[in-house]
Symmetry: C2
Subunit: 327 residues, 2 copies
């Protein structure tokens, strides 16, 4: 038997855990120079990459290895959900410090495997290297029915604006995580949402398959930042109502608004529905169980973001969400 070098031993450890997650379209998976992928008939392939970096997106003393494994895949898969697609496989790129082997790596792989199983996402390949800090880059490959992907650029004036779930909850979870320890943490829904977010695959699919959404994206950096992106891509503006924001429960009103506008890591969907489609949207929605949705405002011709306050005054909404390049 020819000898294995240290990198190959690490790669084998990673591959072992994923040998059971299969995908019909993945003809050649991890282990060769490249993976070979063939989407089902009538499907297009979707591609997206996401950084998950120590110091920026994760703190080693706060985030259990298992959460890091889960979240690095879940957040990349959320970009597939955000266009109405279904994740199928992923490339895992790990830059590992010396400490991130042994027990840490086992925990990481356990969390990653749980997310991969939930999402039906097979390991297709990737690359490993050594680094002082932990850096993870995940590329997710998804599928969407030909022509049905919902882009950011399709919002038109008078479309209504919706979000799924509660906004700011993951940010609240991060705050609680800093204050609490042990079991209290995992009993809290906001902490669980911060550590183990679940991308809105079914909702994204449903909106795309029924051609209900004119534009869609996921909220990863905070509503104020991501809504600005959707509006810029569509060449429109938006008015949102403070009172309509589905904020976190159990925090003062003003605080809940701030968290809902600028809190990151929610991975909820932000989407627009043309006014004419609203009756069909409501009818179909009734038969659709699951995640709550809220109408938070509408799209405007004027390219500005406005926040209407409780008392009826309006102020310009500036991007205040998470940005690694903000000083």
């Amino acid at each position: 038997m020819s000898k294995l070098c240290p990198e190959d031993i690490l790669v084998r450890q990673i591959l072992r855990g994923f040998s059971k997650t299969r995908q019909a379209g993945l003809r050649v998976a991890a282990g060769d120079d490249a993976a070979i992928w063939q989407p089902r008939k009538g499907q297009e392939t979707m591609l997206t990459s996401d950084w998950f970096v120590e110091g920026n997106h994760l703190l080693r003393e706060l985030h259990p290895a298992e959460s890091v494994g889960w979240k690095c895949l879940a957040r990349a898969a959320s970009d597939i959900a955000a266009m109405g697609g279904t994740p199928r496989c992923f490339l895992l790129n790990l830059a590992l410090p010396a400490m991130a082997t042994g027990k840490w790596l086992s925990g990481f792989l356990r969390g990653l495997r749980r997310a991969a199983n939930l999402l039906g996402c097979a390991l297709a390949g990737g690359d490993t290297t050594r680094q002082e800090r932990l850096l993870i880059n995940v590329t997710v490959i998804g599928e969407v029915t030909k022509g049905r992907a919902v882009l950011r650029s399709g919002a038109r004036p008078d479309d209504l604006l919706f979000v799924s779930g509660r906004l700011g909850e993951a940010e609240l979870g991060l705050r609680l995580l800093r204050k609490t320890t042990g079991k209290t943490r995992m009993a809290n829904a906001a902490v669980r949402k911060h550590l183990y977010p679940e991308p809105r695959i079914a909702l994204g699919n449903w909106l795309a398959q029924n051609r209900l959404a004119s534009a869609m994206m996921d909220i990863s950096d905070g509503l104020s930042t991501d809504l600005a992106r959707l509006c810029a891509a569509s060449g429109v503006g938006a008015v949102i109502s403070e009172g309509a924001l589905p904020g976190s429960a159990g925090v003062p009103r003003g605080e809940a608004t701030r968290l809902a506008l600028d809190g990151g890591d929610d991975y909820e969907l932000l989407f627009t529905v043309p006014a004419l489609e609203i009756p069909r949207f409501r009818r179909l929605w009734k038969e659709q169980p699951g995640v709550p949705i809220s109408c938070i405002g509408g799209i405007t011709r004027k390219r500005k973001l406005l926040l209407v306050k409780g008392e009826g005054s309006a102020e310009e909404l500036l991007p205040g969400g998470w940005d690694p390049f903000r000083k």
Copy 2:
């Protein structure tokens, strides 16, 4: 106009340079949550990721920004060549320190654009984040005719073993780069090969289309390490002949052998051809101009790597190439 956050300004700078590189199959490119990709009829999609990391793969004081841009794409594209495919588009993931903006970033993007144009590879997306060290991860998406991809696992006993080009030249280039400055550098072929490697796309295509190679991979970490990988994947061993190694010119014989065996960054192709196919291989090869190839040995049933020396003695060949995890 709604405001742009700093990350979005950086992303716009990157996208501007690539707006002219198009790919028919890329229905939605960078700028949305995910890219949408549709291969040509009769083609399968290939996927591969590669790290290019400061301190490991590149040294800021030695490697011009333009070379970093070129090489991060060229080396990932080499994995596509190594299975007989053609690169089509890529996802660019940048973790940038404060210094790697302004002039450095312009140089980097210039080199990347040159490589993208040479390879016909369009920017499909990616992610950017802040980091103290420069880390680049590139995912390349390629195409290969259905069923024609050449895997690492197809080598069989008695197949002949070939390599393209010269081995160890890039490593020699790195040594020269450390010793010289300015113009002398770029006049040297080995230095150019280290800074601006050209993946062997045409040769890989030709071998796959003509069903000549039974196994193939690229040599990125050094022949001794990569041959061990090909043999492990195929469940075979190999005997190679020192005298047949196409080493660098202008260095002492023993040194040239060491460089050829363990030098990294060559991005040449390592492939096997079944003995029965050799006449057809030779006939077709005559009509094929371009890169030189050398037969360096053969595949054995016994799962060991042997190096036959000039005087006829044989020694076991151990993986001595580049490994980020070797202590």
